[in-house]
């Protein structure tokens, strides 16, 4: 795997994982909004 390809993969994995984290944050606040 060349360095360019590796960087692309690193960026993609970072975005996916950060997206999951953000969705858990927003999702659980939404649970609170819907329940209260």
């Amino acid at each position: 795997m060349d360095e360019q390809e590796r960087k692309k993969r690193i960026r993609r994995t970072t975005l996916i994982v950060a997206g999951i984290a953000l969705s858990f944050y927003v999702g659980f606040i939404l649970v609170g909004v819907l329940r209260s």
Partner: protein, 534 residues
């Protein structure tokens, strides 16, 4: 082999080492330096949290109120827990991860080195803010580390600082977890397939996924607390139509996986050490991976066992009880595999192995008391008693902290290039192992006899066991100073060779001791990587 950016980087930097002075640490993007900073920070927090434990045990040494005001006692229990969980245990494992994951997978550094620097430096700020609350009007938070509303909303000026510091801790953990996942997924040595990864790397990969899923949930919960306090919402306020029990559900959806965040990397450390000092391969490597994954999955569906006494439908009670008990199966697989690894091994008992063996025995005691607590009808009796305090301290002290100590002793010669003082190490182990039991074992009896947790005074019937526990706590606390002596003399021992331990296997042992500032600037050859793991 094609020239990579890492090669170019190495070529540009081979004439110089790290920056000099404070700049080296402030702006560091080197995984080893950042790992060292995490470990030193964690040890500092361990002593600050430990000092608070000494205040708690002094007050509880005899019945009656003698040293501190009850309000301050509550501040101590709350701060002790927050500091030990988020400041001592978690950063210690992140420090070990920073040091060892790139070395174990043959990577030149973490995938996102600048973010790595940021995730560390957020921590001293977060804990600076948290500790500053001790000096504020109304004192530090005193509602317990679980921050249950409406009690926590009665915190004085410290409240927004508590919420901000918890957000920062969460941010730091999430960034650290992103870094671990991205590094392991994208930067492994050629031909190192996932199932060839060392157990410490595996357990950290699983832990990082847990962190990604649950730290934002804690952040969401405390954000809602903040808006309830200052922005007129009623997420958890019954008077405004909110539901305080919902906070408990959300908190424990974070809180239970958090327990495994603090123990899975410990499993990883012990799984590295036991094979080395048994001079055998780890028994059932793949089954260990599946067991850890299984534990991680189950940790998401058992949260309400912390809330049996709140009240829930019978089906809920049954589900959470049986799901919790199910965790004993993959945990049992792990214990079996460690014992099977030692079986007919050529064992020696250096300090890391002693801490690992104590881990296997004493963590299992914590596991068994956890099984007792999982039984819903029995939990109604045990809930909020010292039995619970005994249970989670057995899991966290001779569990997580012993594993951290084992890991520190195991990899210290690789970090410093010298063997530590084995006599001091063993003295540290034996005193810790004795006093940890003197401290926490009597708490089982106190709990079963009905002594509630989080109280500064108690009935005279509980006096004897409390005195024993307090003596044990001071003994344990003082024993940890031996570890400081070991660290201060760490570079005075004999020089360590590359492999350090006779039975050690893995890529980290193929680099010189001490590990140079730059390692694996060119990925290790597949043959070397494979040999290291076979």
């Amino acid at each position: 082999m094609a020239t990579t950016a890492a090669d170019l980087h190495a070529a540009e930097h081979e004439d110089h080492g790290p920056e000099k002075g404070l700049k080296r640490w402030l702006f560091s993007t080197n995984h080893k330096d950042i790992g060292t900073m995490y470990l030193i920070f964690s040890l500092t927090m361990f002593f600050i949290g430990g000092a608070m434990a000494m205040v708690i045990r002094s007050e509880l040494a005899v019945p009656g109120l003698q040293f501190v005001h009850p309000e301050f006692f509550n501040q101590m229990t709350t701060m002790h827990a927050l500091i030990m969980v988020f400041g001592a245990v978690m950063p210690a494992f992140v420090g070990l991860a920073n040091w060892m994951i790139p070395l174990q997978i043959g990577a030149p550094d973490m995938a996102l080195p600048r973010m790595n620097n940021w995730s560390f430096w957020i921590l001293p700020i977060a804990f600076g803010i948290l500790l500053s609350t001790l000096l504020m009007p109304g004192g530090a938070p005193a509602g317990g580390w679980t921050m249950y509303p409406p009690l926590i909303l009665q915190t004085g000026d410290a409240f927004p600082f508590l919420i901000f510091s918890v957000h920062l801790m969460g941010l730091s953990s999430i960034m650290g977890a992103i870094n671990v996942i991205v590094t392991i997924i994208n930067m492994r040595a050629p031909d190192m397939t996932l199932l060839k990864m060392p157990m410490f790397v595996w357990t950290w990969l699983i832990t990082a996924y847990l962190l990604i899923a649950v730290m934002p949930v804690l952040a969401g919960a405390v954000t809602m607390l903040l808006t309830d306090q200052f922005f007129g919402t009623s997420f958890f306020l019954a008077a405004g139509g909110g539901d305080p029990v919902m906070f408990q559900h959300i908190f424990w959806f974070f809180g239970h996986p958090e327990v495994y965040i603090m123990i899975l990397p410990a499993f990883g450390v012990v799984s590295e050490i036991i094979p080395t000092f048994s001079r055998k391969k780890l028994f059932g490597h793949d089954s260990m991976v599946y067991a850890a994954s299984c534990i991680a999955f189950l940790s998401f569906i058992v949260w309400a066992h912390h809330m049996f006494t709140v009240g829930m439908p019978l089906t809920g009670q049954l589900f959470f009880m049986f799901a919790t008990m199910l965790i004993a199966v993959p945990t049992g697989v792990k214990i079996f595999n460690w014992v099977a690894t030692m079986w007919r091994g050529s064992m020696t008992f250096e300090t890391p192995m002693l801490f690992s063996l104590a881990f296997v025995f004493l963590f299992t005691i914590g596991g068994f008391s956890g099984l007792m607590l999982a039984i819903q009808p029995a939990d109604v009796q045990y809930h909020d008693t010292y039995f619970v305090v005994a249970h989670f301290h057995y899991v966290l002290v001779p569990g997580s902290i012993f594993a951290i100590m084992a890991g520190a002793y195991y990899w210290l010669p690789k970090w410093t290039g010298h063997y530590y003082n084995e006599k001091l190490g063993k003295l540290h182990f034996w005193l810790s192992a004795i006093f940890v039991n003197v401290t926490f074992f009597p708490m089982h009896f106190l709990g079963l006899a009905g002594m509630p947790r989080r109280i500064p005074d108690y009935s005279t019937q509980f006096a004897d066991f409390n005195t024993i526990a307090s003596i044990g706590a001071f003994g344990f606390g003082l024993s940890q100073l031996i570890f400081v002596a070991v660290l201060l003399t760490a570079k005075k021992g004999a020089e360590a060779d590359d492999r350090v331990w006779e039975g050690a296997h893995g890529l980290e042992w193929t680099v010189p001791s001490p590990a140079p500032w730059h390692t694996f600037t060119t990925p290790p050859k597949a043959r070397i990587a494979n040999e290291a793991f076979e």
